[in-house]
């Protein structure tokens, strides 16, 4: 899907429609200048004035890649807050330049001399003429080099705050702001790793004359998280294609924030470790409540409504019914974000971390709905800690954290997480009466260790374990068996385990677990 228009098709600044010049733009050095050349940037031009027409030799570009911000440093990001779509255009900063000769004409050179030689040997003059053509091609390939472009770029997303699963169209336009034309320009969008391109290549190739703009668009499917579109890869060749320069450019990021809608599940079964506030977890303490606990002898002052009138009718003695007291629980959701937890059953599914985060989101909201205090923690490199709390502000905070925290993104981290220090830190933070809902695929013994340690420290653990194992090969079957053994051991240690298989919803998994536990 490539649509190109020359600058003269769109009068004025072809990438900045008048409305998108931001009002809140902090005036950089020489604000008036910026207003007219908004987003205009010279790439690879060390002189850094906005008249950057003269193509510099490749060496000049190579000498200053280390943060050689070209153009005004303040950037000219313009996001329209009134609408949901966002347009960003900004300073193109060169991260790296590679110049290489493609060497594609070397064969032609050799062949033309071979032809000339054959022409001499056989006294065929037309062959010598053919060699003349070859030499001219050799000149064509050798005397030109890949131009250093002067470009500005803008990126636009159709919806900067989509819901998960929405398709978002991203439009990239690149304008040649120099005064030499680019015979062969290839632009490759650096799509954030976690997003998948749904339609149209996020790439384009064209020739750009001065002032012309190329535009291409593609569609990505939004998923939970915050994504920055901030890079472009540019390959510029000369007309003969004998030399190419590759630019790795960064520009002001266009951010896509995808926060899933508030979702909850059914009431979450919890351990009977509670705070002293009234809530919904039935305790063994007899008192006020709805679930019958026991009958005791009537004492003076007991409310009439709790007298067992049936017993009075049959035996004439007064007895008072007691119910299980319902208290509020403090729950901390612990999400396993170690590298090993990013397991996925088969291609195309969601990985276990994504399912864990989704489960945490639902569990969080339903626990909050039932009046419990909920917090969030994670086994990750980054420090993720939301102390238990309640209320709409807390809910919004958690929703934002779960949706956009970079450590919760669907791509695995590079660093490993040391479980023991993380656990020590967590235990130090957990309130005394907190129980833990541990979301982990339980693919290694370290996860089981965490669950067991927390449990023996007096924080009852319920493991919600998204099952990502399969049994189609011997190795996978082994891993699957190991995991179910691990779960069995945890159950034997008194830890509740919700084994959540891929083809059932969290609600079904919770129901099944509840039925098992109440038996």
């Amino acid at each position: 899907m490539t649509d190109r228009s020359r600058a003269d098709d769109r009068p004025g600044d072809s990438v900045t429609s008048g409305g998108t010049v931001p009002d809140d733009e902090t005036a950089p050095d020489g604000g008036a200048d910026v207003a007219t050349t908004d987003g205009e940037t010279a790439v690879g031009d060390d002189a850094s004035e906005d008249v950057a027409g003269t193509p510099e030799p490749a060496v000049a570009g190579r000498s200053g890649p280390s943060g050689a911000t070209v153009g005004d440093r303040d950037g000219t990001e313009s996001v329209e807050p009134a609408e949901t779509d966002a347009e960003t255009e900004g300073t193109l900063t060169i991260r790296a330049v590679t110049t290489r000769r493609t060497g594609r004409w070397v064969g032609v050179a050799g062949l033309s001399f071979l032809t000339a030689g054959l022409g001499i040997v056989t006294s065929t003059r037309p062959l010598l003429l053919a060699a003349v053509v070859g030499v001219l091609y050799l000149a064509y390939a050798n005397v030109t080099s890949a131009p250093t472009p002067s470009l500005s770029a803008a990126r636009r997303v159709s919806d900067s705050t989509p819901d998960p699963g929405d398709e978002v169209e991203v439009t990239v336009s690149v304008t040649n702001t120099g005064d030499s034309s680019l015979p062969d320009l290839r632009v490759v969008e650096q799509v954030p790793d976690a997003l998948s391109v749904e339609r149209g290549p996020a790439r384009a190739a064209t020739a750009l004359r001065p002032g012309a703009t190329m535009t291409f668009s593609y569609t990505v499917t939004a998923r939970r998280g915050e994504f920055d579109f901030d890079g472009l890869t540019l390959v510029v060749r000369n007309a003969s294609g004998s030399e190419e320069k590759e630019f790795d450019l960064s520009m002001a990021p266009t951010t896509l924030t995808c926060v899933p809608p508030v979702a909850a599940t059914d009431a979450v079964p919890l351990h009977a470790l509670t705070s002293h506030y009234t809530g919904r977890v039935a305790t063994d303490t007899a008192g006020e409540g709805v679930e019958f606990a026991s009958v005791r002898e009537y004492q003076h002052g007991d409310p009439l409504s709790r007298i067992d009138w049936n017993r009075y009718a049959s035996s004439g003695t007064l007895a008072t019914m007691e119910f299980r007291e319902e208290r509020m629980a403090t729950v901390v959701l612990l999400v396993d974000l170690r590298k090993g937890a990013y397991v996925q059953s088969g291609e195309g599914g969601r990985n276990a971390v994504e399912r864990s985060v989704d489960a945490s989101h639902r569990l969080f909201n339903s626990l909050l709905d039932t009046g419990d205090r909920v917090g969030i923690a994670a086994l990750s490199k980054d420090d993720i800690w939301l102390p238990p709390g309640a209320g709409p502000t807390h809910q919004a905070e958690a929703r934002h954290l779960l949706a956009t925290h970079p450590a919760l993104s669907p791509t695995p981290p590079d660093e490993r997480v040391y479980v023991r220090p993380a656990l020590r830190m967590l235990v130090g933070r957990l309130p005394d009466d907190a129980q833990v809902l541990f979301c982990s695929p339980m693919v290694d013994d370290a996860a089981a260790y965490v669950a067991r340690r927390l449990h023996v420290r007096g924080h009852p653990v319920t493991v919600v374990s998204p099952d990502a194992t399969r049994r189609d090969t011997i190795g996978r079957t082994l891993a699957s068996v190991e995991r179910s053994n691990r779960l069995s051991e945890l159950r034997a240690a008194g830890i509740r385990v919700i084994d959540w298989s891929e083809d059932e919803s969290l609600f079904e998994a919770l129901e099944a677990a509840r039925r098992r536990w109440s038996r």
Binding site: R4, A116, P126, L129, Y137, V143, D184, R203, T206, G241
Partner: protein, 167 residues
Amino acid sequence: MTGYELVRRPGRRSVAVSGVAGSFVVAASVAGGPVSAGVAVAGVACLLAGVWLGRIRIADGGALVGFAGVVGAALQGAGPIAVLFGTVAAVVAWDSGTNAVALAEQVGRGADTGRVEVLHALYGAGVGVTGGVLGFVLFRVGPTRQPVTTLFVLLLAAAILVVALNR
């Protein structure tokens, strides 16, 4: 997730650009007789197959065989115009074909690359035609009595000059 899959092979239009140039190669080599024409046809077919499959080496080989057809035509007495025309066409067919392969490698089949490819082919053809005309004028008005070795040395000198100027 279904998603978009990048196909790193040139599309039909890229093959068409090469095909047009390739047909000129065949047309030029017909001047030398059926054998050279046959060689040229085989070469062009191989070139187009290489472009379609995105295999540079196959395309290179095809272009070489196609050019061999032109050389064959020249050896069998084809005129200078046919040989020049065939040479330029062979270079353009090879150049646009391999360029399309490299382009597809970088941006994929789905991107609209027609403009840049046609422009590339036109640049190449322009250079070729200039070279052809230059050569033909030399052929007509040049010193026909000179031994061919002198011409060869001149060619070599020109080539070395071109390379040296760029270093």
